[in-house]
Each structure stands twice: as C-alpha cells, then as structure tokens.
C-alpha cells in the first residue's frame, strides 16, 4: 500500500514538511519511489512570474542535457531561471542522474495572442516531445511537467533520503501546494514515469490503491487519440487523465468526477434529483468506472485540492487543518505531521460518497456528497 500526503497553505512552505509526513507514515511503503508536485511556486533567489511555464525533470547524461537545451531553443523558449538543487548524488540509489532540473521559461513570441487552448496544447506537446526524445535515446531524459507554476520531482528511493539528497529543506524552493507519494511497488516495474503524482495540462492526481479496471479504461482513453493520454506505466495514471477528460474535454464541474469514476447504484440514482441525467452520464462514461480500492488526491491549476474515495471506501484517507492550512494524508499521523496546530477533533475521514474540496481561498473545506443535487444548469 502506498502513502499519500498533500498540504495546501496560503503561505508557501518547504516540501520537506510533507516529507516529514511521509516519514511518519513510513510503514506503508517500501522505498521504491517518491513523487513530489509543487504548485504555487516561490523561489528564494528569483522573483517568479506565475504565468511562465516551468519545466521539470531529470537529464541522465550531459548529452541529454545539451539536447534539452537545443530542443527548447528550437521551439522558441527563452530560459528565465534555472533552479539548481544542491545535490548529494551519493545519497541517491540511481547513478545515472546528471541533473535534476526545474527551469522557468518564457513562452515563444509566436504564442502571443494565441488562445489558452493553443498554448496549453503547445506546453503539453513540448513535454511529450522531450519525453519521446528521451525514450528514443535510451531513456536519458525524463520530463515530468511543463506548466506554469508547477514543478515535479520523482526519484526511486526512500522519501526522506531523496529530500536530503536534493537539500529540499533549504527553503530555496517552496510552494503553496505540495503533493507527495511514497510508493509501494506493485504490479508494474519500477520506472520514474510510474511514480505518482501524474500530471497532464495542469491537472495532477496521485492514488493509494490498485485500479483493477485499468486495462479497459486505458484502452478507452487511448481510443480518444488525445496526445497526452499515453504512458500508463502505472494503473493509477488513468485517474489523472479521467479528471482531465472530465474538466477539460467534457467541461463538467469538479463534482462530476466522482459521478464518472464511481457512479451511484441504480437504486440510489432512482431517488437522486438528477438521477436520469446521472444514469445517462454513467452509461456514456461507463468505461471510465474505476474499480478496486483507491483514494485519489488531486490538485487543479487554480490550487483547488480534492480527495475522493473508491465506491466501497476500501482505502484510508484523512483530512484536517485550519483556516489557511489544510492537509490530506493516508493516515492521521500524516495530517498531524503537516498541521500540528489544528483541532484534531475536526479531522474528517471521507466515506464512499464524498468528494473533499479545498478551494483556493483555503478558508474551509467542502464535504460534497454524491447523493447531493448535482450542480449543473443543463440538467436542472
């Protein structure tokens, strides 16, 4: 079983805080990987404009590093800031790590005045191009994300050791949202791309569990022929893609995600005020119904955070916090490590029908139940 931790706060904080939560929950993973996503970035030595895209990944050789530079230059991106981690390579298991990079770019002038959709596509295609380029060259270049205000780090090993290896406690890079997953290697081989969180066009999710309906869902997503729906080194990657499909392609509200991945039972839909619509939605999106035990934690470009459970609530997850600071974790000790100064009696453990949403203002969390009316004008 993997362990998940997410912290969201108005004031930027160090990702190391989330790693301490991972340390508290260390019984739950085997050190086969750590994934970190930082959103709402703040650099100590650079005044970052959150409109500029940030590319994060790993160059495994100098040649890959050179190729990265030339590819980005060819596509017209101007480098604004290159964050250098103070690394201790001896503390990392893998030996082919030339450079961990988090680099801020300026969009090519050609994209000035282009629609948001075109810009978002370009960012995704650039990331996929870099990924493909790395795969063509013996996997010597790994690109995790390329998006404004988002940085990602993935590495094989124990979370705390990776944090120390990259000196993440030095406060040189902080963020308002941080997601972390400590991986328990399950069905699929250890691969950097298989580490959570998964990222596509600003949307990220990480999961604790096993998605037993992975293959039919993957087959359906591949059939959409959307360039970003690829990879699938992990059965959990589809959770991010379904969230992307729900929000970006179907343009549905966040609440629809839960109705798509874990629809209500027929008997419940018969009583639901929008039951007819929701049955239709379930049928239309039937191939996206997830299965198995899963707790899914996600974040959106506006810094909204969410947590949903599988339909049988077979994985644990707790949420707690106070005005301005909230934390999601697989275990209560994880929440306690991230927000010690909260009232633990107000912690909440979502059940099968719940979606927990922490909106960007972070005043309070929303506990939305699937049995509640569905917020969409078109079905009123």
């Amino acid at each position: 079983m993997c362990r998940l931790a997410l912290k969201t706060a108005i004031e930027p904080f160090s990702p190391y805080e989330v790693l301490t939560a991972m340390e508290a929950m260390q019984e739950g993973y085997d050190g086969s990987g750590l994934g970190l996503l930082l959103r709402g970035l703040h650099f100590e030595h650079y005044k970052y404009d959150s409109k500029h895209p940030v590319l994060s990944g790993i160059a495994h050789s100098e040649a890959a590093w050179q190729r990265l530079n030339s590819i980005m230059a060819q596509r017209g991106y101007e480098l604004k800031y290159d964050h250098e981690f103070e690394t201790h390579p001896e503390m990392v298991e893998a030996k082919d790590r030339y450079r961990y990079f988090v680099r801020v770019y300026k969009m090519p002038p050609a994209f000035e005045g282009k629609s948001t959709e075109e810009i978002e596509n370009e960012l995704m295609l650039t990331r996929l191009f870099l990924r493909a380029n790395g795969e063509e060259n013996g996997s010597d270049l790994t690109a995790f994300s390329f998006w404004p205000d988002v940085a990602m780090i993935k590495e094989v090993g124990w979370p705390m050791e990776i944090g120390n290896a990259l000196t993440l406690h030095d406060n040189r890079i902080t963020s308002r949202v941080c997601m972390a997953q400590g991986r328990q290697n399950t069905n699929y081989g250890i691969n950097l791309y298989a580490c959570h969180p998964f990222f596509i066009q600003g949307i990220a999710t990480m999961t604790n569990g096993e998605n037993t309906a992975f293959v039919p869902i993957r087959d359906w997503l591949l059939g959409k022929h959307f360039p970003g729906y690829m990879g699938y080194q992990s059965d959990s990657e589809v959770f991010a893609h379904i969230l992307h499909y729900t929000l970006k392609q179907l343009k549905l509200p966040l609440q629809a995600y839960k109705h798509i991945i874990t629809p209500l039972k027929n008997a419940e839909l018969d009583k639901h005020p929008q039951g007819v619509f929701l049955k239709g939605l379930r049928d239309a999106c039937r191939r996206l119904i997830i299965d198995g035990p899963n707790a899914v934690i996600g974040t959106l470009p506006d810094e909204t955070c969410l947590l949903v459970m599988d339909h049988k609530k077979m994985r644990p997850a707790t949420v707690g916090g106070r005005d301005g600071v909230w934390a999601f974790a697989s275990e209560m000790c994880g929440v306690a490590a991230m927000v010690p100064d909260r009232d633990p009696s107000l912690d909440f453990q979502p059940m099968r029908e719940h979606t927990i949403i922490v909106p960007p203002e972070r005043k309070e969390l929303t506990i939305w139940s699937q049995l509640d009316p569905y917020p969409l004008a078109q079905v009123a």
Partner: protein, 546 residues
C-alpha cells in the same frame, strides 16, 4: 451376376453394433409393462415374441424330437429411421431398471447412411465436437492480492449488469442533453440473456415456464434477465402484458408473427426490452429458420399468420434486401421508428470473417443498438448436419477481433457486442460467459444451455437425441404435440430458471471478487485472462500461461 436373394442383407442393412446406441435389455428384470416401448420417441424398440427350439433326445427310448419355448423381450430396430438416439427415456420410465441404451464405443456405420432417399441428415442440437472448448480452457489469472483486502463475493455488493443499446460518446451525450436531443434508449440487463428460441421451436409449456422464470428473476430475485423470442412472434397475451419489458422480440427473414406484433403496439402496456433483427445464426450460417409442418399446430399457425400443418422455411436472406448494408440500415431505422425510438434495435449475425464489416456499418448507423455475434457452436432446432458441423466461425476470436476494432476507433462503449454460440456447452456457463466478457463482449446469449439446465434437454455433442427438428422431443421441450409437451411442467421449468440465474450470479461474483472487480462488469479486462495454448493466447491477445 444376379444377387443371392436368399441372403437378406442389403447395402443398407445394419446390425446392433452398427448403431450409435445399443439397447441393453435384461429379460430377467422386465415386467413387460410396455412403458419403454410406449415412451420411445423413435419407436426404436418393440416387444417381440420369439420361439426357441429345445432339442430333445431320450437315449433310452431312442427317441428324438423337439420342444418349443416361447419367450418375449424387447428388441431394437436396426433401420435408420428407427435407430436409437440414446435419449434414455426408456430407462427413466422403467420400473425395474431393466433397460438402458449404451453408447457404441466402436465407430458406428450409420454415419454412412444418413442420406436415405437422397436426403442429407438434418437434426437439432449443436456442432458435434465434444470435449473442452477454447473458452473452457481460459483461466482468470490476474488475482488482485498484493495490495488489496480481497473482495468478498458473499458480502460485498457487485454490479452485475450490462448495457443493451447504443450509448453516445460523452461529448455528444452532454450536447444532446443540453439541447434536448434524442438520447438512444438503453437497458440495464443481466449479461446472460436467454437467446432466441422461437415460440414454435419450443413447446407452449417450455415457453410459459421460461417466461414465468424470467419474471420471477426480475421481480423477486432482482436479477434483470431478458429473453429473446426467436422468429415466430409472441403470444398476444404476452405482448399486451407488463412482462413484455423482459422480452426481446426477434424479426427474421420470414417475418413470421410480425402482423400480430405490429397490431398489438397500440395496446402494449410497456416497451419490449429490445428488437433483434436476425440476419444470421451461428449454427447454420447462410440458412434460414425451419419449422417443419408437424410442428405447425393451430396455435403456431395463428401466431405466425399461416395455414396449419405446412412447412415454414424462412428464406436465408431478407426479401427486402438490395444490399446487406442498406438492409441493415433501413430495417434498424424502421424498427426503431415503429417503437417510437424508445427501444434498442440490434442485428444478430453469424460469426464470420466478415463480421467486422457489419460492425463498422453499425458504428455509423445512429439507430443501431448493438451487435449480436453467434458462433459456430451455437444450437438450433433444425438444420442440415453439414451446416452445423462445418460452416461458421468460432465465437472467441471473432468477438475479440471486433472488440479490438472498436477499441482502435474508441467506440467500444458505443456499440455493445453480445456473443453467443456454445456458451456453457460443457456446463461451464459462467466461466465461458465471463471469459467472453473479458475478451470484449458486453454480454452473452445462452439457448441450448438453458434447454439443458432448466428443462432437462437430453441432447449432446455425441449425437445423443438431437431430434428437436422432428417434433418428437422426449422431454416435451421442442414439440407441439400436447401428448409430449404435457410431460413438461412449466412451474418446474420456472423454478429451474430461477435456480440457474441465481447460480450464475453467484459464480460471476466468485470470478470477479478475486480480480478485484465489483463496480462494473469487467468488459474487455483481457489482462485477467490466461490460456495454456500459445497460439490461442497470441490470437486473442491474452497471456500465455503454463
């Protein structure tokens, strides 16, 4: 040379050991009650009086002579028309265990004489190939154990339903939803459907029993089973009843019974589950249905709108057909319109290498609600043996190919594929059905298995019984003769329907629980399948295990 007429053996003369079944009769147990001879559907046995000479020699008197003993016993006829079919009805009625048919373990020579009067063999049943089939050999090997608390088949909730009917792509669904456009009708049904067996092929008691059983499954057990009528209409009292919602009405090339159905539309209390348009049948591809004159009773004649006692051969093709594409398109649209676009309409075709082209036509037809593909191992009430044994395509690879074709187009959720043909042939109905579902079928149709399990049909793939076409069904399942079908108690058939579907539901959970699936039917979950046959694994795109 003139033949020796004194030897009464001709080219077609057969002895007991030439027959597929040999009657073993014990005279010491026989009470001469005559039940066996009365019940035998083939009149294969008769009570015979025989005289035995007892030579008598009295040495002292130097006299010799004969005495004669008369004895009676059951004898077997050896002509083709009366050859024993091994149904064992004689054994079942015998009060004294004096008689039973025994399979001939030698190769039997009737194989060479199934062409009397120039008429090739016709029969009912399935392709005569016995032993484990490909579906029986598939294993569910992706056990979700490493990370999970296993699901509990007995306590957890499982969603065992599937969608019948066309589903729109999500984008189109939302668009039509907001614009108030037409959303194609769908049904949530149990994935094991009672396949098309016509009112005509089946006896009234069998039909009534099935219908009662299906209603019981839906209304008491909560298992949403539907059944298909086959060609030949539906009794008017069913058409006008609230049970019509459990019925899939079939239209085939003879259009039998559709006068009654169309006339009943204004009086229908509910819509039928679906309309099935039969273009082909796995057991006899390229051939139409065939109801022999002796099965066309007064009731059947009325339902089908034909005179009594005439052969009813459905043509192999639909008479409105200019091209198959056009026919499929027009008929589907017409049937959909007839029921106000509120009932899913789908075609049934025989499995074939050309199935994909039909499927791709359907993908572009907005009214098509699915595709049923019927494989070579499917059963039938009447067909030429050559059609059943040698014509057609096995279901597994055909369904898999069609499913993968839809996957490549991203349309696998839009057109459900249903599979039929040999599911449960060796009794493993749930295993066979779930294997097909994981290969990509949304559900399966079972016909012969239902006859065998709910009504005790005696037919098998070793030439046992299989006389459905002759109207002499010893169990009264496929006969229109009241003397035969009164043997079948509809209430007991209904009870068996309930038992069979409860058991399938439990077994389906027992398969899904270890795979970690409970939220939705594992359609296309091919990663859960393995087979110890490398070629089959490659062909189906599943794991080779050994």
């Amino acid at each position: 040379m003139v033949s020796a007429r004194s030897v009464s053996v001709g080219p077609s003369s057969l002895g007991y050991t030439d027959l597929p079944w040999i009657i073993q009769h014990r005279e010491d147990r026989c009470t001469l009650c005559g039940r066996c001879t009365a019940v035998c559907p083939k009149e294969a046995i008769y009570l015979a009086y025989r005289r035995q000479r007892m030579p008598k020699l009295d040495v002292l008197k130097k006299a010799r002579g004969n005495e004669y003993r008369t004895f009676v016993g059951i004898r077997q006829k050896t002509n083709m028309a009366n050859a024993c079919i091994g149904c064992s009805m004689c054994t079942m009625v015998c009060p004294n265990e004096a008689i039973m048919p025994v399979p001939n373990t030698n190769e039997h020579r009737t194989l060479f004489f199934h062409n009397q009067k120039g008429q090739p063999q016709t029969r009912g049943g399935r392709r005569n190939v016995s032993g484990p089939n490909l579906l029986d050999r598939i294993m569910f090997d992706r056990i979700s154990m490493l990370t999970d608390p296993a699901l509990d088949a007995g306590r957890h909730e499982f969603n065992l339903t599937t969608t019948l009917g066309r589903t729109l792509p999500p984008e189109e669904f939302l668009k039509r939803q907001s614009e108030g456009g037409w959303i194609p009708p769908t049904r949530e049904i149990f994935p094991f459907v009672i396949g098309s067996m016509s009112f005509g092929a089946l006896s009234p008691n069998m039909w009534l029993g099935l219908l009662q059983g299906v209603a019981y499954c839906n209304e008491v057990l909560g298992i949403p089973v539907v059944m298909c009528t086959g060609e030949g209409g539906c009794p008017p009292w069913v058409l006008k009843s609230p049970y019509l919602k459990y019925i899939v009405l079939q239209i085939a090339s003879g259009y039998f019974g559709w006068d009654e159905i169309i006339r009943a539309i204004p009086e229908m209390q509910c819509d039928p589950a679906a309309i099935e348009i039969k273009y082909g049948q796995g057991a006899k591809p390229g051939d139409g249905g065939l109801l022999m004159w002796f099965k066309v009773s007064k009731l059947i004649a009325r339902l089908r709108g034909v005179p009594e006692g005439v052969d009813l051969p459905s043509p192999p093709v639909h008479q409105t057909l200019y091209s198959i594409e056009e026919s499929v398109m027009k008929m589907i649209q017409t049937m959909s319109t007839a029921f106000g676009h509120k009932v899913p309409v789908y075609p049934k075709i025989s499995a074939s290498t050309s199935a994909k082209s039909v499927l791709n036509n359907l993908v572009r037809n907005p009214y098509a609600g699915g595709l049923l593909i019927d494989g070579i191992d499917g059963g039938t009430g009447a067909a030429y043996n050559i059609s059943m044994d040698a014509t057609g395509h096995p279901i597994a690879s055909n369904v898999r190919e069609c499913y993968l074709d839809l996957v490549a187009q991203g349309k696998q959720n839009e057109i459900p594929i249903f599979a039929a043909g040999g599911i449960g042939k060796n009794g493993n109905v749930t295993q066979n059905g779930m294997a097909l579902i994981m290969l990509g079928a949304s559900g399966v149709h079972i016909g012969k298995y239902i006859m065998q399990s709910v009504a005790g049909c005696l037919g098998n793939e070793k030439s046992r019984c299989n006389v459905c076409n002759l109207g002499i069904c010893p169990k009264g399942i496929t006969s229109q003769n009241p003397k035969l079908y009164r043997r079948l108690d509809p209430d007991l058939v209904a009870e068996r329907v309930g038992e069979v579907f409860m058991s399938i539901a439990t077994e389906a959970k027992k398969i899904m629980a270890p795979l970690g699936r409970s939220q939705s039917l594992p359609v296309g979950m091919s990663d859960a399948l393995g087979i110890s046959d490398k070629d089959a694994a490659d062909r189906l795109g599943i794991r080779y295990v050994c």
